[in-house]
């Protein structure tokens, strides 16, 4: 069994996807993955500043966009990942969404792990494990506009 960090991250992410996304319809999947991205951003931002996070998520996106063009619709800004265009655009299959976000999440954890000597890896795994279909449905819907508003409120 390979012990390189990326392989270990893949195992974790695959297990999480299998555990949590079974039976989720495609139109809900992008919302679900949006929560997952938000969770990773939020946990990383405790340790890493937003400039660094922007570049990390941007790098992960660029790497994954080559194989998964639907990720072109994922946008980044100072408050995190914006999936609004993806949610409003054409419908993608569950497999397409699974594969694209699997790639993105693994890439983000790999980059953060590599930059922090894997210190943030366990907290990110933990954060990801808390994102379930139940937690998503019980959480009030957070739109990207709301996140921006919260951030500007905090600043003021």
């Amino acid at each position: 069994m390979s012990t390189d960090p990326k392989s270990l991250h893949s195992l974790q992410v695959d297990a999480w996807i299998q555990r949590t996304t079974k039976g989720v319809p495609p139109e809900r999947l992008s919302v679900f993955f949006g929560y997952a991205m938000h969770a990773l951003w939020r946990r990383s931002s405790v340790t890493l500043n937003d400039v660094t996070l922007m570049v990390i998520f941007d790098r992960a996106l660029i790497i994954c966009q080559e194989e998964h063009p639907l990720l072109d619709l994922v946008k980044l800004d100072a408050v995190g990942v914006n999936l609004d265009e993806l949610k409003q655009g054409r419908q993608y299959s569950a497999t397409q969404l699974h594969q694209a976000f699997r790639c993105l999440i693994i890439e983000i954890i790999t980059i953060v792990g590599s930059l922090t000597a894997e210190i943030l890896t366990a907290p990110l795994y933990n954060e990801l494990s808390l994102v379930t279909t139940d937690s998503v449905s019980s959480t009030p819907k957070v739109t990207h506009e709301k996140k921006i508003a919260v951030k500007s409120e905090r600043k003021s």
Binding site: V51, T52, V55, I56, D58, R59, I62, I63, I111, S114, L115
Partner: protein
């Protein structure tokens, strides 16, 4: 306790630089190469990049206003490390930022740099020169923000990056750039012993146990080479460099009856100072030591001459009736001659190390150590260099003869007054007038760990080489004991 593995390193491709860096540049780090114009920053960075870049691990070289890319490419062609194929296949890409810097300022420049980084996804990045940004920034805040953003992008993309700049020692203390970076390598030139010499120092390299000393270096068509004998010539605690596994632990020298003076023989790994005023036979004794080793004992030998030419030494051998030529042709003996005016101590020490190891020499002569070090004025450095010469012998598990000229009329036994404290033995060659003749003497003045015959013994230089007549003390018949030996 298990030692955690350090960061992965990349080889620099610069001779001996990896040794002073304790294994190379840590992967994914940001290093400043600081130095005045002409100090070698561009050459060093490019040599490292050309050594490492490949289609899978690409390199981006950002040229700023300090030097247009066309000029860099033109001068690049004179170096052997320049592999044009790496530019053709896209392993190395030059990006000239001059235009955008001149017209649009720092904000647009970083946007363009990031665009290139995203496109190429480089493993290595050079910014040549970063100092230009300081000159173009409208404020310290703008510069600080720009520097921070560049550093973040290079860090997140895990590029091993080199920022070049005409930074001084003062800049290293006060410029905020230097607190962001992982490494600082300082390059300098200055005049020493009437020659302009180049130096390199690793000021900082996070996560490594690098050498903190300044080391000399040179730049030739092969690129940069660093000479760091203090780091690379280390005593071999394992002793066994190549052939110590079998054979005797002590050597016979085989020159006339000298072995009668040396008791049970000389331990391998020992170095001798062959000490005497001019004309006492040091060169001849050393040459015969090398010759006899090859001829009588099958031990390969190397003679480093800083006084005589190779031709002259070959003539001496011929004049003595030795088959020196034959031993040279059979590959058992090498003579390496360096003109006094060409001596560069650190560079030649490493040359000696390489030649000794390549030949697997067991006999090593340096004629003379005093001429080899004549330009060095600092006694501390002389001591270090003599120690390194002795270390070369120790590492080779051979026997070394290091010749030294004593000034006429002095009571010293070495030129610099420190050599005898470092070597394992001292052979003193003297002469005195006797009637109309001059008699030569040889004396084992010092020999560690070996019982030897003390006092002066007659030595003649004959047509066959050195002839020694040991003055054997009378044996004490009553007790049936042996002659008194000094240990």
């Amino acid at each position: 306790m298990i030692k955690k593995p350090g960061p992965e390193r990349i080889e620099t491709g610069v001779r001996n630089l990896d040794s002073i860096l304790d294994g190379g540049i840590p992967k994914g780090t940001l290093t400043v190469l600081a130095g005045a114009p002409g100090a070698g920053k561009t050459i060093l960075s490019q040599q490292m990049i050309f050594h490492n870049a490949s289609p899978e691990k690409r390199a981006l070289i950002f040229q700023t206003l300090s030097e247009p890319s066309a000029k860099t490419l033109k001068y690049l062609s004179q170096f052997e490390y320049n592999d044009l194929g790496k530019i053709k296949d896209g392993s190395i890409e030059f990006v000239d930022l001059g235009g955008i810097l001149r017209n649009s300022g720092l904000e647009s420049t970083i946007a363009l740099m990031v665009e290139h980084i995203k496109r190429v996804k480089p493993t290595y990045v050079i910014i040549d020169s970063f100092k230009v940004f300081e000159d173009l920034a409208h404020s310290r805040e703008e510069l600080r923000k720009f520097t921070y953003e560049v550093a973040i992008h290079l860090m997140v993309w895990e590029c091993t990056s080199f920022l070049l700049g005409e930074f001084s020692d003062k800049d290293i203390e006060v410029n905020p750039l230097f607190s962001i970076v992982d490494g600082i390598i300082s390059l300098k030139t200055r005049e020493e012993a009437d020659e302009v010499q180049r130096f390199i120092r690793v000021v900082k390299m996070r996560g490594t146990n690098h050498s903190r000393d300044e080391h000399s270096m040179s730049i030739s068509s092969k690129g940069m080479g660093v000479y760091a004998p203090k780091v690379t010539i280390r005593r071999d605690t394992q002793v066994d460099l190549y052939s110590r596994r079998s054979g005797p632990a002590r050597a016979k020298l085989g020159i006339s009856k000298i072995d009668q003076l040396l008791g049970e023989g000389v331990p391998y790994g020992s170095s001798f100072l062959i000490s005497g005023v001019a004309g006492t036979g040091k060169t001849l004794l050393s040459l015969e030591f090398i010759y006899r080793g090859a001829k009588e004992f099958g031990e390969k030998g190397i003679f480093f001459s800083f006084e005589e030419t190779e031709e002259r030494l070959r003539e001496i051998g011929k004049g003595m009736g030795w088959d020196l030529e034959g031993e040279i042709q059979r590959g058992n003996i090498e003579i390496v001659s360096v003109a006094q005016t060409d001596i560069r101590v650190e560079e030649h020490l490493l040359m000696m190390q390489e030649r000794i190891e390549r030949l697997k020499a067991r006999r090593i002569a340096v004629d003379s150590a005093s001429v080899f070090l004549y330009k060095v004025t600092d006694p501390r450095i002389i001591r270090e260099r003599i120690y390194e010469l002795a270390t070369l012998v120790q590492r080779a598990q051979g026997i070394g003869f290091l010749n030294t000229d004593i000034p006429y009329g002095s009571n010293a036994i070495s030129r610099f007054g420190v050599e005898e404290t470092i070597v394992d033995g001292v052979i003193l060659l003297t002469s005195s007038e006797k009637g109309f003749e001059r008699e030569r003497f040889i004396e084992i003045y010092k020999l560690r760990n070996t019982a030897h015959l003390p006092g002066r013994h007659l030595m003649h230089i004959t047509r066959d080489g050195v002839e020694i007549t040991p003055r054997i003390p009378p044996t004490k018949k009553k007790r049936g004991g042996k002659g008194k030996a000094r240990k």
